[in-house]
Amino acid sequence: MNDMTPIVKTTPKDWETDQEVRWCPGCGDYAVLKAVQRTMPEIGARPENTVFVSGIGCSSRFPYYMETYGFHTIHGRAPAVATGVKLANPDLDVWIITGDGDALSIGGNHTMHLIRRNLDCQVLLFNNEIYGLTKGQYSPTSRVGTRTPSTPFGSVDTPANPCAFALGAGGRFIARAIDIHKNLVGVLKAAHAHKGTGFVEIFQNCIVYNDDVFAPFAEKKNAAANQLWVEHGKPLVFENGTKGLAMDMERLVLKVVDVVDGDWAAAGVIVHDQTNRGLAHMLVEMPFGMFPMALGVLFDDPRPTFESAVVTQNAEAAKGKTPDLQKLLSQGQTWQVEKEPRVE
């Protein structure tokens, strides 16, 4: 491990640590961990150049289980710590592991600023719509009426929509995936390939406090009717190609249309353009029930990253200047005292 010979190829096993994984049996986090460990060899990642940074919560234990560098920080602050890591060493591949409470409640401010600055990193937001580690209180993504120890009569506040939040903050890569779905690896690879903040909302099942909250679309039997996996350049169809999304031109909103004999074009189905920000807004805002859940890479349109701008500006500002501390100390108007005036 200690020689500098490049590791030609890693296997998912190389990314496992000797630490005992301490999530509840059946937790969706196991599936995400496996998916990430499968992703790393496929993207040619190097363990020593990879840093996992997390906040607080069940998902934030993640770094202990990855054979990389890892920093389990404090509640909500992972984006801020990650920003310091990346600015100090832009060559590192930084992954932020966070949850709905960590990223959108206590750390909402940092998440917003991370995304608007566009730090080059991946954000995996494990959304289980509940506070697991503190034993089941409702979270900022819990639906209205969620009964928990802190909301025995049901929650009354409107939940946050993570992808809409990320888009609104100026996100340049927005994706959704499901913990146990095979497409998760592909989404993670796309997020990694994107230069800038790759924001991925992962629907993650909390088997203890919020079991099956995503079952209406995540369960296999509901998948066809309620999952719409978008692909750039492909029509937005679901239910085995029998339904699609088209524009309601009068109200300028999306509508579900029937596709007959696979002729999606005739039905007016929209072709997904992952660089179309307006379309992305509509996809992430689709009310589930009336619409399927839009999944996959919903928006991907890179812009220059924060750390590259900082590095460039630092280099520009330093150009032609030699650091001379003695000169710095002596700057401004100075005067020379030759000898103590009153000493004989």
Partner: protein
């Protein structure tokens, strides 16, 4: 306070302190440019070779309503041919640009002092705003001072007439007219100010010319006008200072340069995460311009992100630095705990201000000592250092960097609003005289295997940069297993890790405490920390000149404290602790050493006056005239002609300077 580089001679120590120094206060509306005027007067004073200290005192509002009492901005400067360590107790000269400035500042003026007022601003409206029932310039209420009033506004308008400025713009030159007059009064050269104006208004030459005309007119007014008695020209002699190159420096500048010097000596790049807050922002501003020194600055979204990003940078192998003021420091508290738990180097600068809560943003206080030493959850020991003056900030900043990297720990550096803003002459240090302390990252698996929480003889754990092959590991805020750093909630492990963290900080090598002035034992010790240095030092010097048995001890290492401090304190009958808080160092001293430290407190947002401390010294000693201890008196007699009790034979003096080893 050039005395940092100057050994006070017996003659100076015994000199009457006011004879060769003058305190001038410029006061006006916050829009009148008083800070600028004061700053330029400071520069010209420094260039003329006087020692000096300044005290900028301005409102929190950027542009408070014109003419109001709360919109008054003042700048005080004390300069002289003797060693100057404070901005002076009571001004000798007050320059009041409007009634509000007069009203707020006149009470501080020395009896018999000189008031120069712009009578052009003493109209009914402004008098009402300043809550004057009658015009004080004419009703005789200023009789205990000397008064000179003339229409500075009109004189300025006349002077800048040729430049065709609007009335408002023309009146903005008032401060330069006033500065011109002050330059004449104290026989100062105008040339550096003229140069500065030309640079400042390079893009608007007409403004430069108008301001220069106002400056010259003010100067000429002093020279030619037939003024009444008090208005005469003074020449203040050159202050004795050690030979070398000097400049003026504020605490914010000095801390910034000290941090840069520190990371150069440590051979590590600096990452500075900051969030705007008064009075700490000046450090962020200064460092933002120093890209060529390997400094990355990051204005974060909040105080928490500022420190969290600095911790991230330290984790990645740079030295993380963050800076704030009281309320911002409170927000950073949890992250400090993370740095303590993960044992990463970090420097946290706290420019203290009046509290609690938002408190007094632009006024000074020393009330964050508890917060610095105790203000975190859990047993969270952290080294704390305190700077005593603007120039001292440089060395204290280097010391903070040294401790942070040599012990892998966050360090808090305490300064305050007074130090941050005040300027003083500074003997530019010779960087080649500082010993480097380069950091060594762990880059290979050491003999016997790699332990992320393995320790050296100082209990320091290794610093490993992500990107290093073979040393992969995970850290975090959860309790660590001894050695491996893996998660460990075990009872015995937590007991031991808590003790290790405590011992690591407790055993940091700090220099022994020295006695700044006086004996290493005796009747009374005045024990201070931070920016009270100046007034304490002068007060103790004056009291000793009167034969009082009093010593001055000033603590830089607040935590851990110097090993000899307890024994040293026990050598005095009485320990008096002047602080700009309600007694925080006093409590720590009592707790650490079981000594009967007595408080002397001031929380008015203003620094201590020398006279306040001198009075307290007398209050804690037997009435004057009572004899000094026999041996001491013997020495005083031996050194006939020197009435300063601090004079001792060379050997005793040297012992005092090196401190009393426990």
């Amino acid at each position: 306070m050039a005395t940092a580089a100057h050994e006070v001679t017996p003659q100076e120590a015994s000199a009457h302190p006011t004879a060769e120094s003058v305190v001038v206060r410029f006061a006006g509306d916050s829009g009148d440019g008083m800070q600028l005027t004061g700053g330029q007067f400071t520069l010209s004073t420094a260039l003329s070779g006087n020692d000096l200290a300044t005290f900028p005192d301005f409102p929190a509002e950027i542009r408070a309503p014109q003419g109001t009492l709360f919109g008054v901005s003042a700048f005080q400067i004390n300069f002289g041919s003797t060693a100057i360590e404070t901005a002076g107790d009571a001004p000798d000269v007050l320059i009041a640009m409007n009634p509000a400035a007069l009203k707020v500042n006149a009470p501080a003026l020395k009896a018999g002092g000189l008031i120069i007022a712009d009578e052009g601003e003493f109209g009914e409206r402004n008098l009402a705003k300043a809550k004057y029932a009658a015009n004080p310039l004419t009703d005789g209420s200023l009789a205990k001072w000397q008064l000179l009033s003339f229409n500075i506004s009109q004189l300025t308008l006349d002077a800048v007439k040729p430049f065709g400025l609007g009335n408002k713009e023309a009146l903005r030159c008032k401060n330069m007219w006033t500065l011109g007059l002050a330059l004449w009064m104290f026989d100062r050269d105008r040339a550096p100010i003229v140069d500065w104006l030309k640079t400042k208004f390079a893009k608007a030459p007409v403004l430069a010319e108008a301001n220069i005309a106002a400056l010259n007119a003010g100067h000429a007014y002093g020279e030619t006008a037939e003024l009444a008695g008090p208005m005469k020209q003074h020449h203040i002699g050159v202050a004795p200072t050690a030979p070398g190159l000097y400049r003026t420096v504020t605490g914010a500048e000095s801390i910034s340069m000290g941090l840069v010097a520190g990371v150069q000596l440590a051979n590590v790049p600096m990452f500075f995460g900051g969030y705007p807050i008064t009075p700490a922002s000046a450090i962020l501003h200064f460092l933002s311009r120093l890209k060529e020194y390997g400094v990355t600055t990051f204005q974060a979204e909040d105080e928490i992100a500022a420190i969290a990003s600095a911790i991230g940078a330290s984790y990645a192998g740079q030295l993380g630095v963050t800076s704030s003021s009281g309320p911002g420091i409170a927000l950073k508290g949890e992250a400090m705990g993370l740095a303590i738990m993960t044992e990463l180097p970090l420097v946290i600068v706290n420019s203290q201000r009046g509290g609690p809560s938002t408190g007094l943003p632009t006024k000074t206080e020393q009330s964050d000592l508890y917060q610095a030493v105790y203000g975190r959850n859990g047993d969270a020991p952290m080294p704390v250092l305190a700077a005593r003056s603007p120039s001292d900030c440089f060395d204290v900043a280097i010391e903070a960097v040294r401790i942070a990297v040599q012990y892998m720990t966050p360090v808090m550096l305490l300064t305050d609003g007074y130090i941050a803003n005040a300027a003083e002459p500074w003997l530019v240090p010779d960087m080649s005289s500082y010993a480097p302390f380069p950091v060594e990252y762990l880059e290979e698996v050491p003999e016997g295997g790699f332990l992320p929480y393995g320790r050296d003889e100082n209990l320091k754990r290794p610093w490993v940069k992500p990107g290093t092959p073979g040393l992969l590991h995970r850290i975090g805020g959860i309790e660590k297993a001894i050695g491996t750093g893996n998660i460990d909630y075990g009872a015995e492990n937590h007991q031991k890790m808590t003790e290790i963290r405590r011992d690591k900080v407790a055993n940091i090598a700090v220099p022994d405490q020295i006695v700044e002035l006086g004996e290493t034992s005796g009747k009374l010790a005045i024990v201070g920390w931070g920016s009270t240095f100046g007034p304490i030092h002068q007060a103790v010097r004056r009291a000793r000149a009167r034969g009082r048995d009093v010593a001055h001890i000033h603590i830089r290492h607040i935590w851990p404290m110097p090993a000899n401090l307890g024994d040293l304190l026990k050598g005095y009958d009485t320990i008096l602790v002047p602080e700009m808080n309600t007694g925080q160092l006093k409590t720590v001293l009592r707790d650490q050493f079981l000594v009967d430290a007595k408080p002397l407190n001031k929380v008015s947002g203003q620094p201590f006056l020398i006279s306040e401390i001198e009075a307290a010294i007398d209050g804690h000693l037997p009435p004057e005239g009572e004899l000094l201890p026999a041996d001491n008196q013997q020495l005083t007699t031996d050194e006939s002609g020197h009435d300063d009790g601090s004079l001792r034979p060379q050997a005793a003096s040297a012992q005092s300077a090196e401190g009393h080893s426990a």
